[in-house]
Structures are given as C-alpha cells and as structure tokens.
Amino acid sequence: MGKPFAITLDIGSSLANHTGSWRTERPVYVHRLPPCNDACPAGEDIQGWLYDGEAGNYESAWRHLTRDNPLPAIMGRICYHPCQTACNRAELDETVGINSVERFLGDHAISKDWQFTVEAPPSGKKILVIGSGPSGLSAAYHLALKGHQVTIRESAADPGGMMRYGIPAYRLPREVLDAEISRITNMGVVIECNSKVEDASLALDEGFDAVFLAIGAHLGRRAFIPAGDTAHILDAVSMLHMTAEGEPPLLGRRVVVYGGGNTALDAARTARRLGAYEAVVVYRRNRERMPAHEVEINEALDEGIIMRWLSTISWVNEGLVTVEKMELDDKGFPQPTGEFETLEADSVILALGQEVDLSLIENIEGVSIDDGVIQVDEYLMTGRNGLFAGGDAVPGERTATNAIGHGKQAARAIDAWLQGEQFVHAPRPDMATFDRLNTWYYSDAPRTVRGKLDAARRATNFDEVVQGLDEQTALFEARRCLSCGNCFSCDNCFGVCPDNAVIKFGEGNYEFNLDYCKGCGICATECPSGAIDMEPELS
C-alpha cells in the first residue's frame, strides 16, 4: 500500500493545470523610442549605447554609438545635446549627462586607438564629397562602410570645415579633431585639401557616380553700418578663421561684438584670449531671445564678457561706437527708443550670421536655390540627378550634429539611388513617455557636475574649458539612464509574476509562459522602463 489516497499528493503536479485559459489580456515585450534617441539629430541609439556602457563594455558602447555618428569625441564637446533636453530623467531628478558620456567614449576610443572596419565588399562606385565638415565626413564614413570609394575635396588647408575654422580650440582641441578625421581616412576615404571645386557639375562628368555637397556656410553676413573711414570693422567668421590658421587679427584693447548667436560669443571669448581686456556683446533683443545656447552664454559671462542686450549699433567711428537702446514690442520685435549711448571700441566684430558660397552650383540646371540655400528633396538630392547636398548649405538648423545627421541620410539615399532604389525609413516606434515608467525602482542619484577650470585661467589661454569625465563618473552617469521603453534586464517581470509565468533564459532574454500566465498585468505595471504592454487576447 502506497501513500494515502487523495489526501497525499505528488509535488508540483499542478503543472497539469494550464491557467493560461483564464487570460483576457496578454503581456508582450515592446521596444519604444526613448526621447533622447528621438531628439538626436544624428539619430544615435543613445539608450542602446548607454546600456552597453553601463556594463563597462566601452568598446561595444563606442561601436554601437558610431553606427550613427563617427565623431563622438568631437560631438561629446560641441554638440548642444538636445538628447539631454528631452531626457525623461529630468522629471525624476536631473537629465542624464549623455553628452559627457559620449565624449568619454570618444576620448577612450582615441586613447585605445579603436578603428572602424569596413565589412561590405567594394561596390566599385566612386563618390565625391565636397567639403570635409561634419556632414561631409559623416557622409564619407557611411558611404565607405557600404563599400563605396569616397573622395573628399576641401578648399581649406586642413579638413574639418567649421569644426576647425569656426569653433575655437578651447572648445574643440585640434588633436581630437585630427584623431577622429584620420580614423575616417584610415577607412580608405581620400581627402584632398587646398582643392576648391569651382563647378560641381564637372565632378559628375569626371566619372564620379554621385556627388555630395557639404560646403557649409562660411561667408560672414555683411550688414550696412554707418561708419567713419578709420573705423576698424571685421566679421566673426574670418576673425575665427584667421585665428584658427594662426594669424589672428589685431583687435586692440576694447572689442565690441555685434550679434547674439553662438558665433558672436565665440568671437567675444576668442577676442579676450587674443588680449582684449574688454569684450562687449551688443545684441538687439534680450537674453531670453538670444539664439546662442544657454551653456555658451553662461560660460561667456563667467569669463567676464559684457552683454548689452536691447541695443543696436547706429554709428561706428575710430575708437567709438554709438548704440541706440531698444525695447521689445508686444510681438517681441525690438523697436527704437531714440536713446543713444557711446562705447569705447578699438574694433567691431560683426557676428550677424553666415551665408553659403553658391558659386560652384550657380550654372547647374535643375538645381534651385532659395533664401540663399540649396533646395533638396526628402532624400537630400538636388534637382540635378546624382547631386546631393546637406549640412549648413541646405535648409535646416545649422548645427554640427544636424550636419552629421544629414551626412548619414545622404549616404543612405546615395547608396539606394546608386542601386536604382529609394531609401525607406524604418517605421518609428511609439514614444517612451515618462508616464509609462515605474520610477519607484530607480534610486535617486545626483548628476555628476563636470569640473571646470577656474574662469580666470580659462580666459588667458586656449586650453579646453570643459573637462571630461573619468571612467568612474562616466559609468555613474551612464547608469543613471532609465532605459526608457526598453528592457534593461532587471528581472522584475520574472520576479513579480504570481504564477511563475515568465521564463528567463539569461540576461535580457525573457519569454512569457502563456500556458500559465493569467494576464494579471503585474509585470507590465511593475516594469521600470515601460517595456511591457498588455494586449487584449484575440478571441
């Protein structure tokens, strides 16, 4: 006689009872679009590379990042990081310092001398990229990855475009710039400097299968300002260019900069570094309406740059500048007040925007120009077959990051066009909004503050202003990522199921066991990153 009948049972026998039949809703794992990725003009999978970084896998993190952007060390310095502006964590404590982690990875890669590898077989196609700025380099990189042979023609003596001739060295050290450019040339991309292209159409006839115009906007906009003959006036673009070439102009002890953009601030800060003890920025509207980025403004103020908001220059003479006070009307436009003041100024720098040098396309039929920029279709192709354009030369926000995005898009479009196809964008997943997160599971962690050189020291040389993160703080910063809308292997779903209906196969690899899942929805509610949806059972 065995065990007593019925009252005594063999363990675990309830597995025979498939409670999955109770379910009216089933859980499914989803991947949503994190706001950082959504906001990145270069289309980086930020949440993705941070995930690798969190585990300390810096190389895979860097390779993940450079799938989209070949210049992390550069962008980690000069990008205005819209990703951080969009970051969900801002609602919890402070945004994740994505930009600084990107810079850490970029610098780390340089120190480790990690290189890109081209897996695609040679396509036999030759492509000409005109201009070696961010969009040109980005396009060249992505085209090279696809096996195409890329030649870049650069009018200046050195590659980099505005990154070299517009952005002062204290924001972007040249060795970093050179390192990331040479990594691209190491892929087989040829850069021909001092070779200005006079006519883009000739290049097509020359036997290039496609041409990408990445010529940027290098002409300082001139505005008419009444001035005496002896007045010393120059524009910011040339001033920065000359400085970058090592032949800075003589500015005197008092400098007035006219304009409110980032370039204006770069010019003013550069002027200080060139020996001016007083640099005044004159701008017709107020601080709130200043186009320059908050960060830049703060750094400028830290360095003792003087701001004169709500002012226009009405007369420039030797050593003197007359400014008129302005006031904003209800639409926010500045209106004259008739009140005048004079400032002492040895020189006046105009930073009123840049224009595109359109000479090399003027007589190509089909290519239309409007509002001073080259018009392109959604695939960045001009009216001329095979002639594409991007960066500052086409409509859109004029930032390096945006330019890198253009480079990538152009490369994809060109690649598709070469195969007689049209590039199709992958559908965008739904947004990973903050309200989908279960923030209980994230512990509060203060954002690392980047160490800064003290302002005085900064003002007297071209050393880099903003310091990078060491490995530990970078890791710290990376781990503050909430992994919005994407699983980060926290095992919550595996743990919180009252029916053991989640199978865990290993890190980040889960599956719902629908034989037993009753569809209670706890896993979805408790998922920290909102990566589980409940969907009605199909009856």
Partner: protein, 337 residues
C-alpha cells in the same frame, strides 16, 4: 569592476540587476530558485498571497539548502495550492486545520529534534484569520515555548477564502461582508485592532519582522535572517488581495507599496522584544492615495463620502510614522500635503 556606483543604473529595488555579482542577487532573480509554489495554482489573477508565499518560501529554501518542511493553515493559500488531484508545492508540506498550523509545526519540530534531524527546518504559514484570530492561542503557545519554528502570516486583512469577512486584522473603515459600508459608521470599526507583530514582540521571542510584497529584497533578507536563528520567529507579510480589496489585479504590488509609503503599514524588525530596524518611507503619500484605488474604501470618497473617517485614518498613519520613526526627511516629502 567593483565601483561603489554599482546600483545607480537601477536601485536595489528591482528584482534583479545585471550589474552586480551573482552572490548579491535576490533569490527571485535566479533561474535556479526553487519555485516552491509553482505554476498551475488556482489563485486569483494578481494574488498577493501567492506571490508572497513564493517569495518567502523560496527564500527559506535557499537559506536552508532545501531542507525545509512547511505547515499550512486552512485558507486561500491552502485551497488554491492543493485541490486534489494537484498540488503546487514542491517541498514537504502538510495542511491540518484552520487554527493549528503553529501547533502542528511545533510537533514537526519536536519530531525532527527527537530524530536528531535539526538541520531540517520548519515554517508554518497562514492568513490573517488563521493567525490573529482562530489560530492565536496555539501561536501564542508556540511563542511562549520558543519552539524552533518560523511562523509566516500572509496578511490580506480579512477572511478572503470564505468570501471576504472581517478579521481581527481588518483595517478601520474597510468594507467587508460582515462590516458593510452602510449606516452611520460604515465599514470595519475604528477599534485598536489586533497588531500581531507587537503582540509577538511582547512574547520576547528572538525575531519578529514585518514586510510586504512590494519590497522583495527586504522580505528575502528578513527570511534569510530568520532562518539563521533558532527558536520562535514571526514574519508578518502584507499581501494585497484584488478580490477582497476591490483593486485591479495589476496593482497588487503598487498597493502594498502605498500601504508602507502612507505609513499605514510600518515595516520593521525586532529582536527579543526590541525594535532593531525600521524601513524608512521613501516617498510619503497621503492615505487617500492608498485607499482610493480600493473599492473596500470607496464609501469614504465622493459627494456623500466620509472625510472625517479619512482624517481618522490619516491620523493612524501619522501616529505610525511618529511611533516607528518611519520618515525623517522633509525634503523627500513630495506628495504629502
């Protein structure tokens, strides 16, 4: 890589964490957890007791290297886990009666001692009815004799198995089928209630602790600690019941969390009658936030609700916060009006 920043990506509140050492991982995050209460049981969707039981018994199994015997009081847990011909348990388990789990466990422990098998440990488990009401006498005896048993009470604050009737652990104002939400004083009465953790402490037993299904790491740590001790130990776990509380099945853990964050369910540890540790409230909330999602408290809200009862309940929470020193940072006060 051993940096002190390990837990920042996600705090130690989630079940697992890919960034920490195997050794520091929770039992529930391990694919080799014992699943003492396995799939196929007949608990309601989102059952807090099923979850709490697996959390606790798996932890005890891990702590005793699988040398564990469980005694179960009559109640939901027993009924949904062992209806003939199937059982969901995967360890030696016995059910006797509603009120005698502690005494049966005493017998098991005595027999093991007599047989020189002291390496095999005993847990007794029951709901709040079987613990604070009908099983109270034997439990007190077990405490008084300091029998080598860990008694775990899964508190869902009413007799759910019999269809939601008031128990000695039913909170003031709560609607049950024997404390209807009608009349001048709807719901369960505002009496002093029966706080078994404190009563257990009064016995001076080696270990008493409270926990909830909302903080797995805390719960597992307490079970592990308890299994590291000998003598009578008591663990009181709050397990929300979607059926009896009238809450959404997916909010089981959320409600347990709000119960502690509101101060209505203090989480603490005591040894030999003295409180040794209290879990601080991280994000304090008003009791309304906890009560509102539960139909059993619906009559307190709305046009003809009972604001006076709400403030009375808030007063209870505030008293707990003060008494157990649950909350010490004013800044952390986000939702507390």
């Amino acid at each position: 890589m051993s940096t002190p920043l390990k837990f920042y990506q996600v705090g130690s509140f989630a079940v697992g964490n890919r960034l920490i050492d195997e050794a520091d991982l929770s039992v529930q995050s391990s694919t080799s957890r014992s699943n003492s209460l396995t799939s196929g049981h007949r608990a309601c969707q989102g059952c807090g007791e099923a979850l709490g039981a697996r959390y606790a018994i798996d932890a005890a199994m891990a702590a005793t290297d699988g040398k564990l015997v469980a005694v179960n009081a009559t109640g939901c847990l027993e009924v949904f886990s062992t209806p003939y011909p199937e059982t969901s348990w995967r360890l030696p388990w016995i059910h006797s009666l509603f009120g005698n789990a502690s005494a049966v466990a005493t017998g098991v422990a005595a027999a093991l001692k007599a047989q020189g098998k002291s390496d095999i440990r005993v847990v007794a488990q029951g709901g709040d009815g079987g613990t604070v009401d009908i099983g109270f006498g034997p439990l007190s005896g077990m405490f008084e004799r300091n029998d080598d048993v860990l008694y775990i009470c899964y508190d869902n604050e009413a007799y759910m198995n019999t269809g939601v009737q008031r128990s000695g652990a039913t909170p003031p104002g709560a609607r049950t089928n024997t404390s209807h939400a009608v009349g001048e004083h709807p719901g369960a009465s505002f009496t002093q209630g029966k706080n078994l953790p404190l009563i257990a402490m009064a016995h001076g037993i080696p270990y008493v602790a409270t926990a909830t299904v909302a903080d797995l790491h805390d719960l597992e740590a307490k079970v592990k600690k308890a299994m590291g001790m000998r003598g009578a130990r008591y663990l009181h776990i709050l397990v929300p019941c979607p059926l009896g509380w009238g809450s959404r099945s997916e909010e089981t853990i959320k409600l347990a969390r709000l119960a502690t964050e509101s101060g209505l369910f203090p989480v603490f540890e005591a040894e030999y009658g003295e409180i040794t540790e209290t879990k601080k409230i991280r994000r304090r909330v008003r009791v309304e936030e906890y009560l509102k999602p539960q139909k059993r408290f619906a009559h307190l809200f709305g046009a003809n609700g009972h604001s006076e009862m709400l403030s009375a309940i808030q007063a209870i929470a505030d008293k707990n916060v003060a008494k157990f020193n649950l909350w010490d940072s004013e800044e952390a006060d986000t939702n507390h009006g």
